[in-house]
Amino acid sequence: MKKAIILSQNDNAATLLENVFVHDEVEVFDSEKNSVYVLNSLSNINRGHKIAVRDIEKNSHIIKYGHVIGKASDFIQKGELIHIHNLESERGRGDLC
């Protein structure tokens, strides 16, 4: 099983500690090293990139470190890669003005 971590209990994005391929099983640990979720990966995801630990509705917030790191630009399914294709920053967006 591949390893990922969340940094706060509210996080819906976990950071992968190793490369993951589609259908790999991923075990998510919290910062106290407790196992908190087991997921089936829906994407090929590089080490250090993020995986959704639950379904995330379009326009809802992505949480890491217990804080908002942006919003989902699409519906993100549990087990899917979260990165710049489906996670939008809400700060410094002069391009939207």
Partner: protein
């Protein structure tokens, strides 16, 4: 109280190095400064592209930063090198530095001579400085005389989960011992405001910081650009960081749980024990300048992507928690904290490793950047070239 050995300066500050700063007042004399520094082992050339075509606050800031470099406690002697027709007035800079640093000399090329003549003269002056400096000895002093800059650059996912939290543990420990810690990178606080609010000692400090973040955000909005592309950069994105908010939340971990006791502008000095915010860009060399002007004698620099850069007046300690880059750019790293990511080292232990490295660096051990000759410098320009 923890004691360390440092060089005592006339103005009451303490240095962790005893170097000679060769400071050009204008880009036109950079080559001469570089030649002088290349022939004197203790000398560093503070070359920069400015000094001319500068006005108002921009000119004042450049002058002030060069003065801060001349009076920086890590320098035991200074050679001001001018051309003679620039706006950063060589004689004025020399006089301002000389007030605090008696070992200061001046060469103005248009009055003294051409390239070879001034190189020879500069080398003679610096060799004489070397004799004076070789007779100075470190004295035992309290750790509270240290100011440490904390900075990150080339961040990736390891920065926010391992190296920055370790620096955060360090920040807590050294500020409890009475030392100062300075941090900047204003852009990279965008999105971390809730954490900062809880760390600020009072509302005034928090309002200062958020107003500086807003200035940058307003600039991006007025330029109709998305910060993503530089914040996070292509390298940050490749390293797993998706938004500026994510990068900022990782960056602020360098402060840990320590209270922010003051907030100052670029070019100003940190005066209070504890953590001070300095309004600097995220740009690595400009941030290093801002932190050094604030008084940092050592800079701790965390990186996940890897960067070799040092800084002219302060030893830079390079920390990574990315095992791959530690192997690829091994000679550039002072500390490898990748075992935190693997789970076999705790953040507390990482913080201890940072603390021990800072103490040994303060007492004279060279950092990798110093050994490799990385002594980069630049000024930070705040207005466009008008003329």
């Amino acid at each position: 109280m923890l004691k360390i050995n440092m060089y005592k300066r006339e103005n009451g500050t303490y240095g962790v190095r005893n170097r000679i700063a060769v400071i050009p007042t204008v880009a036109c004399v950079n080559h001469v400064a570089e030649k002088i520094a290349s022939m004197v082992s203790l000398a560093d050339a503070y070359t920069h592209p400015y000094g001319c075509d500068q006005l108002g606050y921009d000119l004042e800031l450049s002058f002030n930063c060069l003065k801060k470099m001349g009076t920086h406690p890590n320098n035991g002697a200074v050679l001001v090198l001018g051309l003679g027709c620039e706006e950063i007035l060589p004689e004025k800079l020399y006089n301002e530095i000389k007030k605090e640093q008696p070992n200061t000399e001046l060469i103005i090329m248009q009055e003294n001579g051409g390239t070879d003549f001034c190189v020879d003269l500069g080398v003679k002056i610096c060799r004489n400085f070397e004799k004076i400096l070789s007779e100075q000895e470190r004295v035992e002093t309290d750790i509270s005389n240290l100011t440490i800059g904390v900075e990150c650059g080339g961040s990736d996912f390891t920065s926010g989960i391992a190296s920055n939290p370790s620096v955060g543990m360090f920040t807590g420990r050294i500020t409890q011992l009475g030392a100062k810690v300075v941090f900047g990178e204003t852009t990279e606080l965008m999105g971390a405001e809730k954490i900062i609010e809880n760390l600020c000692q009072n509302e005034e400090i928090f309002n200062f910081i958020t107003s500086k973040i807003k200035d940058i955000e307003d600039t991006a909005i007025n330029m109709h650009v998305d910060l993503r592309g530089t914040q996070p950069s292509p390298g940050n994105i490749e390293g797993g960081l998706s938004t500026i908010e994510e990068k900022s939340l990782g960056g602020i971990c360098k402060i840990g749980k320590s209270q922010i006791v003051d907030a100052i502008n670029f070019g100003e000095s940190a005066v209070k024990a504890g953590v001070t915010f300095v309004n600097t860009p995220g740009n690595d060399i400009a941030c290093s300048l801002g932190l050094s002007c604030a008084g940092a004698q050592i800079i701790i620099f965390t990186t996940g992507k890897g960067t070799p850069m040092g800084f002219a007046c302060a030893p830079v300690i390079k920390v990574t928690a990315n095992k791959n880059i530690f192997e690829i750019m091994n000679e550039n790293f002072d500390l490898n904290l990748s075992e935190i990511v693997e789970g076999s080292l705790s953040i507390k232990e990482g913080g201890e490793m940072v603390f021990n490295k800072v103490i040994e660096t303060a007492e004279g051990n060279e950092t990798c950047a110093e050994k490799l000759g990385h002594r980069e410098f630049s000024l930070y320009r705040v207005s466009p070239i008008l003329t």
